[in-house]
Symmetry: C2
Subunit: 349 residues, 2 copies
């Protein structure tokens, strides 16, 4: 089959790789219907994390189950499935606590797992899925092609934006500021509105993303950053800051923006992968009672909750995809996201 | 009147100072029935924070209202009142959000306020209380002398322990570990039990404090610290760590202990004044979805909730006082706490 392989920074190739096989009874083989490029895929692409040898890449995909091992019970051939960006068993103590990203037996796409050897990356024609019962979420009934984009967001960005909102404790009537206007930030706006926030402030400087943010539920847009950004958020929130702030970037500047934009007693929900620091300023947090909660989003557990609203169109996270390319053009997909020509790129094998 | 003044590190004196007067219509004059020494009072005592000139000290007291200004409506002469460790108006946006420690017009004992000049320290015979309606909580009916200790804890340590538990989100059936066996840590155990925790792990090396911790509700005691302490907590919590960890110290080591003793997806509630750092390790928090919430405890807002359980004896936080001294012996009170000969010292004018 063909799959995407990163050879070095800015060297993305689609090439022939071995077809996956069922190597344990808990495996499934999934034919990928659509995959996508994640902001975190840009780290190796940009050389921020090194690529020492050619490596399979991609961790967000949906597809059709082709075959399952003898121990798989909840997933059957022909099912349309959503794979979260990680592998999990769904039964360990951490999974049962809703933190399947800390699954005691799980693992990551594109690397060896503890059971059957190599788990393919998501940007390919087929994927061997370990722990299929725990990992895959079945989408019932026939799936129309125009549903694919929305369903694909449940593999990562929509669940991750939701995690930011849940971690911050967003509830009815809250004021919420969202730092970051990438796909996750935009999905965080959807999540904040869905959870009842009534003032939603998108911090964005890009006209197209501002427009999408407003369509998703943002009531205000703040273009300023730093002190001016903090002042603008406070002006919109009775002078004290937002009840909840969703940090969807992961840099020093974005976390600082988030902490200072939160009112005393409020909470920052963060899902931006911390990009090398810095550490959190605890005295500033202490004096104002601003909490920080979040992390690598356990999206598998959110799929069932979010799926009905995605299928009914109540929320439309699939609109974050503004470019669709065939798998063969994966290199261009990375370039488009790297150069911010696209918010989020879908790859169709 | 007589009041406690710190002149320099380890130089605590009780001396004659001006009698307080009503300097605004919102003031009350309170005759102190009991005051106490706070762990944070030990910072200037130990010279960790400098004392450049003689300064009034003490911020925890209960007493009888002697006089009120013309604008005071909820407090009357003769009332027995509890003062939180700060001054607040009870009406600003932050107070209404439950974060009265961030009151937009409030202030601190023993320093100038924005209205009537100097607010006395709590360790004296009388105190001028600014913003009396917002600051003081009235204890209804006659107050017996054996109630004083319990009521006095509502000025700080019981409310602060409760804030750690509330900030961590302690709920029914939770496993909770408490880092720190001072008065606040012991009160955090009371709070965790009161909020429904069923496994409560006290991290303590002191036999007397361990015994009190068990009487307050601790189901287990862990004496180990560092890696061994983490391992011991995990062994008691199904291998993954405690649902909630209450950090009641404020040092680098105690926060590290707390973060690592928390299960994935759990929360650290912290009230230990951060002692100069370090900053929080965000990547460690991110990977395990461990949140950090808390800060300077808005105890004024907790008094009404906790008061009935204190008065009925359902909770007995007053037992943290293991030494009672006359005000004249304030210097010995500081020395006893500094040398850990006492958990918490009460001063009676």
């Amino acid at each position: 089959m063909r799959a995407t392989v990163i050879h070095a920074a800015r060297d993305i190739r689609v090439e022939e790789v071995p077809d996956p096989v069922l190597s344990t009874g808990a495996d499934a083989i999934v034919r990928v219907v659509a995959a996508c490029v994640c902001g975190s895929d840009l780290w190796p692409y940009r050389g921020v994390t090194p690529t020492d040898e050619p490596q399979r890449i991609g961790h967000e995909f949906v597809g059709i189950v082709e075959a399952v091992g003898v121990d798989v019970h909840t997933v059957r051939p022909g099912d349309f499935v959503i794979a979260p960006f990680y592998v999990c068993d769904g039964t360990c103590a951490n999974c049962l606590n809703g933190v399947s990203t800390s699954c005691l037996t799980g693992g990551w796409w594109g690397s060896d797992d503890r059971f059957g050897g190599f788990a393919d990356g998501g940007q390919g024609e087929y994927v061997r899925v370990p722990l299929a019962d725990g990992t895959l979420a079945v989408v019932p009934g026939p799936v129309a092609d125009d549903e694919v984009a929305g369903l694909l967001t449940l593999s990562d960005v929509m669940g991750t934006g939701h995690h930011a909102a849940v971690s911050a404790g967003v509830g009815a009537g809250d004021s919420v500021a969202v730092v970051g206007d990438g796909a996750v930030g935009l999905c965080a706006i959807i999540a904040a509105k869905r959870l009842g926030a009534t003032t939603i402030i998108a911090m964005s400087r890009h006209p197209e993303r501002q427009a999408l943010a407003r369509e998703f539920g943002a009531t205000h847009v703040v273009e300023e950053r730093g002190d001016d950004g903090v002042a603008a958020v406070r002006e919109l929130t009775g002078g004290i800051g937002a009840d909840r702030v969703l940090e969807c970037v992961g840099t020093k500047e974005s976390m600082d923006q988030a902490l200072r934009s939160t009112r005393p007693g409020g909470m920052v929900g963060y899902v931006g992968v911390p990009n090398g620091g810095p550490e959190l300023p605890i005295r500033q947090m202490f004096g104002r009672n601003v909490g920080v909660n979040g992390g690598v989003a356990p999206v598998r557990g959110y799929i069932e909750e979010l799926l009905p609203d995605v299928r009914s169109g109540v929320i439309q996270p699939g609109r974050v995809f503004d470019l669709v390319l065939p798998l063969a053009e994966a290199a261009e997909a990375y370039a488009a996201m790297d150069e911010r020509r696209a918010v989020k790129v879908m790859l169709r094998p």
